[in-house]
Point group: C2
Chain length 348, copies 2
């Protein structure tokens, strides 16, 4: 029997609630499909920060390296730890250290879920660069607090970084409707974004079975809302991917439905699976967070681990649940009710 070592980091707020739900689903599906799971939970979070002065131990990355995959809930408790500290102390270093350069985020409306748009037929796969670009962390502040203060933040693209994410995007497009939209802002950012456009054009010649559109982020944001059905695979930088996938989450009915996989495609280190949503302190621990995004992310993990049948079963169970009206509107069901419904479908 195959057995997978899972590092589980529930993190903060509703991260704990939804990770709990996802683990229940994983355990159920493991026994049904005949594989083993050895989860180990790490309490790394803002609470951990208060106790230890760091979001994770110094050897945190080395500890995680031994696992087959990482399941993460959400990170952040801005009332007591600035987001810039908590995220740069846990989530962002994991993405970078393990070269999880492809952040995959699917956006489509599940049955009966009510989105904010009149349009409902769309099926978008966002591929977000996950290790560099606008999230490089390079920058600083001078003359702090003075009238001549200046703050800078530098976007850094490397050819390797841009090429590999674009190739990943082209490959995904080949598996779907063969249409790739590459998103930049090269009319305003004439160095980094023109570079990305150049690499896109170079690669497009190699993937001549894929149709490529190059769009600016502003026009793309408008298109997500006005004509999402025209989009297939979308590839974007770290920041633009971040923005477009929250928008994608919105049009698919809310952050409670948006799943994501932080993938290291060469498998030299573990990949990480997490819902797109944050820790939502205002609803934490109240048994009202929608666990679907976390459960869907767990399905993406199963798929990545090679358990494609189990992954499909979980996704089918989620779809069955919403088809039966469970979890389709904020507040319509508790976290436990939605989880129980999905478990029930899986057990039959």
């Amino acid at each position: 029997m195959k057995n997978y070592a899972l590092a589980v980091i529930p993190g903060d707020g509703i991260g704990v609630d939804v990770t709990d739900a996802a683990m229940k689903v994983l355990n159920t599906v493991a026994s049904r499909f005949g594989f083993g799971l050895s989860p180990q939970t790490f309490p790394w979070s803002c609470e951990y920060y208060h106790e230890t002065g760091a979001m994770m131990p110094e050897d945190g990355i080395e500890t995680l390296r031994g696992f087959d995959a990482i399941l993460l809930g959400a990170v952040g408790w801005p009332k007591t730890v600035p987001d810039s500290v908590s995220l740069h102390g846990l989530l962002l270093p994991i993405r970078k250290a393990f070269n999880q350069y492809a952040n995959i985020r699917p956006h489509r409306l599940l049955d009966r879920v009510e989105g904010p748009l009149k349009a409902s037929a769309f099926d978008i796969l966002c591929i977000r660069e996950n290790t560099e670009g606008e999230y490089s962390g390079a920058g600083g502040r001078v003359h702090q607090g003075k009238s001549n203060e200046v703050a800078i933040e530098t976007t850094i693209f490397t050819r390797e970084g841009v090429e590999r994410i674009l190739r990943f995007g082209f490959e995904q497009a080949r598996k779907r409707r063969k249409h790739l939209t590459s998103v930049t802002k090269s009319n305003a950012q004439k160095h980094a974004m023109v570079f990305w456009d150049d690499v896109t054009r170079e690669l497009a010649a190699e993937y001549d079975d894929v149709t490529v559109s190059q769009m600016h982020i502003d026009a793309m944001a408008a298109k997500m809302v006005m004509a999402p059905e025209q989009l297939d695979v979308v590839v974007a930088s770290n920041l633009f991917g971040d923005i477009l996938t929250d928008l994608g989450a919105a049009i698919q009915g809310g952050l409670g439905f948006a799943a994501s996989a932080n993938i290291n495609p060469d498998r030299s280190s573990p990949s990480m699976f997490e819902p797109v949503h944050g820790s939502a302190p205002d609803i934490a621990g109240q048994n009202i967070a929608n666990p679907i995004a976390a459960i869907w992310s767990a399905a993406m993990m199963l798929d990545h681990l090679g358990e494609a049948e189990a992954a499909k079963a979980v996704l089918a169970a989620i779809e069955d649940a919403t088809r039966q009206g469970v979890g389709i509107r904020p507040g319509s069901h508790t976290t436990d009710e939605i989880t129980a419904k999905i478990l029930g479908v899986l057990e039959n």
Copy 2:
């Protein structure tokens, strides 16, 4: 009789079509409200670039400085001139040179216009920083074309730049529903965006009659779509403002409705008025572009020049036109028909 010297730059593509419409409206309203207009048209555009090798003459900025206001159509013809060249050669230098640091963009649904959202009751005023930030132009590329190529683009915020746009935002909020949302991405960009957040907090203490929310751009993009009615005045950096206002345009029914004013609040140099949309080469010169965004921008110009009554009349005429079903759907009416309707209302 008051007389205003107008610099008119139709630019490229549908910029020409809609500027023509806006000028007709301006001439009509001038004679009705008893002020004079002395327009001078400048052919600066991508065509001009082909003829002269530059988007505008070397003394272009100095030439414009003498005018009371600038009316601009749209800039760009990417098939023959890269956007990074055309925009950095005309639109962006004007915004910077004249310290038009406040880019004001209103978003609301006009009567009977069909937007993509189920929700229709929103009235958002976006205030976009217009001179620095992600549009600083600082950056470069090394090892071009080689495997170790690196491209960088640096966001630069100055205290003066950030303070003045935030103050402008607070002042606008005071004139409206007293709610300001400041948009950053300080959880990922810990230098520049944390600085913006710090300045926001400092100023919030001074404007204690205004409620302030600080949101990350990703959550904000989702909110524009999920709960736009909760937003009043939104203030954002150059790039984030760009993205949010295209999204705003989308939810108000499309780019054909989104107006904008590039304002120099201290009036030491001319302000510029332009629709949010681009040159749309695919529909240029076909008499199908919606002129409402350009005409609405012209109304914002009248307001800025002190002709508040005339501005109100133009806006009322636009609203009358859509209330009568004119211009409410793409393709429902020609550019000329929409313009004629608005002129007809103004003449009665």
